[in-house]
């Protein structure tokens, strides 16, 4: 059993790429930062605020997300939605995700790690 920190590093690396998928997927409906954070955490996606907010900004600058400031309420909120380009990228990533899962399962054996 590797020590805790090493394990944590592996998990972080493993999750890093899939966070983009989770964010793009959740933003098919418009959400603001904190609401998205709660949605993801409800789905047991382990992500922290200080990772999500910069990630949203990055995805927006890559034009995978569009944003809109909603100033109708007492406090302004920035709502993010996946863009047309983001949808294409998400679709491609999901295909790749499926391929990768099948490959890993083929190599490691399905569910063997539960034994």
């Amino acid at each position: 059993m590797p020590e805790f920190d090493t394990m944590q590093n592996f998990l972080t690396e493993l999750r890093r790429g899939s966070l983009t998928l989770a964010v793009l997927g959740s933003l098919r409906t418009p959400r603001y930062g904190y609401a998205l954070l709660q949605t993801l955490q409800e789905q047991h996606i382990d992500i922290e605020a200080n990772t999500l907010y910069p990630l949203l900004r990055r995805l927006e600058s890559q034009e995978l997300l569009t944003s809109d400031w909603d100033t109708s309420e007492s406090r302004p909120r920035k709502y993010y939605t996946v863009s047309a380009r983001g949808k294409i990228v998400l679709q491609q990533l999901l295909v790749e995700w499926g391929n990768m899962q099948r490959s890993i399962e083929a190599i490691c054996g399905k569910g063997e790690n539960h034994e």
Binding site: Y32, G33, A49, N50, R57, R75, P76, K78
Partner: protein, 339 residues
């Protein structure tokens, strides 16, 4: 409560590029307020801010490109060079500083021991520390340049690089460690600067004990020292070119070989020219030598064509050293290019 949030947001955004600042500020502020219930207590605010992490780490995450002066690829080597060059130069210069301090202090009042001691120590420490800073600055600049020039190499060919351009791997002797070039660069610059200070009359140099009294002499005549300064500058430039060649190529390339051979040959010619100058020694030191009969021993030595045999021996040694260094450089280069 809003004060804490404002301070936090400010501390994050001040570390970001200016054009992103306003946007991030607005976003981050909105996000933080969303994480808090209306009229939240200071404690609740603190909890949320701690959750977001230190302003520096959050700013780092907002930054798309990590910024390095020296990238991790070179950092180990950078530390390795500093570890030995820094103490080496620092200690040597500190010792020089002690000696100089002893002169300066003793010249003014030979009797006052505490005064002399404090002069010695303060001079040594300050010179050592400033030399160490010089080393630190030049080493850092050297590595930063090497790092950035390496990162921005122009792309060639279809793939951005060519298999044909790979260096030969057959002998480890062909490669020059990055540390060697940088160390040479730093040491030569630091010592040249000290040499120039010395020539400019900032550092007297010679202590003689005569009949219990300390007498101070400058060994060299000022006219000789003035002449020396451009020579030191020339050698420094040559050493810098050689160091840069080594840092840039990092193997025994033709450029490195030429720079090493040119540097040693030119230095040889300069040195031989200098030792054959008349009036190297200051008149006071010369008359002291005559008084103490050391000069007699010197003049007894045979002369060839009016040149003292000691000077000739010194020149021969320098020529031998230069030739062997040049041959070594050429041999290394040939080895590196022959398969």
């Amino acid at each position: 409560m809003s004060n804490l949030i404002e301070r936090y947001v400010y501390d994050v955004t001040r570390r970001l590029p200016e054009k992103e600042r306003e946007d991030v500020k607005k976003e981050l502020r909105a996000n933080i307020y969303d994480m808090l219930p209306d009229g939240a207590s200071d404690e609740a605010v603190k909890k949320v801010l701690y959750e977001l992490g230190s302003p520096a780490s959050l700013a780092e995450k907002y930054r798309t490109h990590p910024r390095y002066l020296i990238s991790p690829a070179y950092f180990d080597e950078y530390v390795r060079v500093l570890k030995w060059v820094l103490p080496l130069v620092g200690v040597i210069v500190m010792v020089i500083g002690f000696v100089v301090g002893a002169f300066d202090a003793a010249k003014e009042s030979t009797a006052n021991i505490p005064f002399v001691m404090s002069g010695i120590i303060s001079n040594g420490v300050s010179m050592g520390v400033s030399a160490a800073f010089q080393v630190l600055i030049w080493t850092t600049i050297g590595f930063a340049i090497a790092d950035h020039s390496g990162a921005k190499q122009p792309k060639v060919g279809e793939h951005g690089w060519k298999v044909e351009d790979l260096p030969e791997a057959q002998n480890a002797k062909a490669s020059i460690p990055l540390s060697e070039g940088i160390a040479e660069l730093v040491v030569s610059v630091v010592f040249s600067i000290i040499g120039i200070l010395f020539c400019a009359g900032r550092l007297p140099f010679m202590m003689v004990f005569a009949q219990g009294d300390m007498v101070f002499y400058n060994i060299f005549s000022q006219s000789f020292l003035n002449m020396l300064i451009p020579f030191i500058l020339v050698s420094m430039v040559l050493a810098v070119v050689q160091g840069i060649a080594k840092i840039n190529d990092r193997r025994w390339s033709v450029f490195v070989c030429v720079s090493v051979v040119a540097k040693s040959l030119i230095s040889m010619v300069l040195t031989i020219y200098l030792v054959n100058q008349p009036n190297i020694l200051s008149t006071e030191f010369h008359s002291f030598l005559v008084q103490s009969e050391v000069a007699d021993v010197f003049s007894i030595l045979p002369h060839v064509n009016g040149t003292n045999v000691l000077v000739i021996a010194f020149c021969v040694l320098i020529i031998i050293g230069t030739v062997s260094e040049s041959i070594k450089a050429i041999k290394n280069t040939v080895q590196a290019h022959v398969k």
